[in-house]
Every structure is written in C-alpha cells, then in structure tokens.
Amino acid sequence: MIDETPDIPEDDAPLIRAAEYSLGLLDRRNARAFETEMRDNPDLRDEVVFWTEYFVQFEAGASEVTPRSDVLRAVNRRLFGRKKSVLQKIIPYLTGALAAAALAWGVVSLGVLDQFAEPGLRADLAPVEGTLELAAVYNVRAGELHVVQNAGSLPPDRVAEMWLIVGDDAPVSLGLLDPDGDTRVAVPAELAALLPGATLAISDEPPGGSPTGAPTGAVRAAGTLSVES
C-alpha cells in the first residue's frame, strides 16, 4: 500500500518519499519499490543524498560509546576465521617427520604462502572511452577477482561486461559487473595462472551481455594485472 496523504500535493509525493526513505519510515515493501524508482531517477537519488546528509547533522555531538573489545574479535572471526582453520590443519604436520614435504605441499596446492605475505594481483582500469574507472584485485586463496567501480557510469540502457585478454588471444568474458559497483568473480585456478600481465577490459553491452560472445560495444576502461607491491 502506498499511502498518500490527501493534503500533500501529488508533485511533492516523491520528495516526501525520499525524505521518509532516508529516515527509515517506509515499510519494507515501499522501501524496495522506492529503490527501484530511484535507480532510474537521478533526481530522486540526489534527493535521498540531500536528506541523508541533512539528517546526519543530528549526530553531531551525539555520544560515542566504546564497544567491548570482543566485538572486533568476533568480526575478525566471522570475516577471516576460515584462514585460521586452514593454518591449524597444517600446523600438526610441522611437528612430524614429513614437515618439510607437507609444508611444500601446502604452499603449492593450497596457496598457504598467501596467508603470510598476501601478495595479490592488481589492476587499475583507467577510462578508455568515457569516465569509467575501476580497480580489480585477484585473491589467490579465494580464487576470486574483486572489482570495484571507483568513478563514472554507463548509459542507462547498457551493462558493463568484463573481459580477460591474454597476449594476442581473443577476449574471454568474465561476466557482467554488478550494477551496484561491487563485483566478485570466481576465476578458476587454471585461468588464474594466466592472470599476471593479462589485460582486463570493460565494454558496454546490451542488457544481458554481449550476444556474440565477443565485445560488441565501446571499450570503456582497461588495465593490466600485475603483482601488487
């Protein structure tokens, strides 16, 4: 139910909803409906930003309260706990006669080395045509490419598709980027070996992605993957 108050003129209704959305006064269904509306309406987005920045002024001077120290520990456990358990699995081997062999096995097949040094592959994707700017980091352990959009946008009826270009080979699609600007793509281990020195490129494509399996739109941003210092 979208409840209109009779004495609010029709034209003002979206502005009021933007304020109500910023305050958290819309129920779940109306909030989702508003978010859909907002996606296609930059004015509405600006209005939400305006109200959010306005109301946040109430926070000035509000008390700060130090949380118990085990909150951070719990957060770390939730986010990074999995790593520790792999290490713990390895440690018993270190005391055994096969320690060296086991460790070597761990380094090669589990990427355990990554847990100590965390070297990563990184690419900064600079604008080619337009204003799109992104950064991509490959996490060896997770087998995952994390791509974050830092600036720019595409025409409203186009989607961003990411391509991996190794040497002179034809571009291989890594899939569409999430419209929210934060994308994680699983990259299988056999492809991962090809990543250092490879190019990542973003093209704009019709909704659903390239219909041909090769880039069809303009190249919007590109960069080379190299080992992070």
Partner: protein, 181 residues
C-alpha cells in the same frame, strides 16, 4: 588530509582487502557507530551483535561508498543506523502480531541508555530547522536518532498514526521549502 579524507582513504584500502586499514577504520569509527546503534536499540548485547554486522558489511561493501554520493562518515553512520532499525523492526514484529501492532506497541520511550546518549544531541542544525515548531522538530529528531516508526511515534505522542504521518510529512515539506530558498 582532513579526518574525512582519511576515512575515505581507509575505505578505499578496505575495498581492496587491506586488513590493517580495516583494523584502523574500526579503531577510528567503532565508538561513533556503536553510539548510533545503541541509541536505536537501547540494548547493549543486541547493539554489539548489530555492530558486528555493521563491520562485516563495511568489509564486504567498502567499494560502494563512492558510487552513492554520500560522504564517507555519512555512509558509515547510515549503514549502521539502517541495520539497527532493521533489527528494531524485527523485534517489534515478533513482539506483536501485525493486527495488534497498531494498538499494542511496546512502550517506545527510550530506555535509560538511549536517554543518556540522546541528552547531548540537541545540536544546532540550521535556521530552517529552528523555524519548525518545537514539537515537530522533536518528532524529526526522535525519528532519526531513535529510529521510531510512525506507529511508535503515534504511540509515544498518543495520537492517531495518520495524524502523526500528516504532521511529519508537512514538516518535511516546510523544511524542504525553506532549505531550497
């Protein structure tokens, strides 16, 4: 670098998976964000659970703050406040069936913890806010700082929900009009 710039730089590093930047961000912002969450929930252990969710979300979504147009601290506060309000709404839904929710709201007055935190929050906003009648200004402050729903606000003011909604919407329009002058 201003503190805002520094938070922004930390978020950029967190977006790329930098754990030491994440620890530093936590050190700098957790007391502020815990204040926000605790004020809405008024229950320490529940607030600590939500604060965990807040930082898990920050780690996973740090790359997004640049695309939404908010300043970094506003983004962090808004994210925290939204998660706390979500939790609070779930709590209210559990406490009463939907049909009773209007009539039998739990007492929405802030508890001692939230009151203590809110005391220091009578900060100045601007002239337009000062132009609102005092009771309307208090309503807005209350909705923002404690995360009241219309139903909770109506119960608190002992007024009809539709009436409260009309008051608040009218105030928002007046405020918007004054601000765009």
């Amino acid at each position: 670098m201003t503190p805002q710039d520094e938070i922004e730089a930390l978020l950029a590093q967190v977006a790329l998976g930098d754990r030491s930047a994440f620890a530093e961000l936590y050190r700098r912002t957790s007391a502020k964000l815990f204040g926000v969450v605790l004020r809405v929930l008024d229950n320490r252990s529940e607030a600590e659970e939500v604060l965990q969710d807040v930082y898990v979300r920050i780690w996973n979504k740090a790359g997004l703050y640049r695309v939404n147009g908010l300043s970094p601290m506003t983004w962090l506060i808004t994210l925290s406040r939204n998660l706390a309000i979500d939790r609070r709404r779930v709590r209210v839904r559990r406490a009463t069936s939907p049909s009773e929710a209007m009539d039998e709201m739990p007492d929405p007055s802030p508890g001692p913890e939230a009151q203590a935190i809110a005391k220091s929050t009578q900060s100045q906003v601007d002239e337009c806010f000062d132009e609102l009648p005092q009771d309307r200004a208090d309503m807005l402050r209350r909705v923002y700082l404690h995360g009241d729903s219309y139903a909770e606000l109506a119960a608190h003011l002992d007024a009809k929900l539709n009436t409260v909604r009309t008051w608040l919407r009218r105030s928002l329009l007046d405020l918007r009009e004054c601000l765009s002058r």
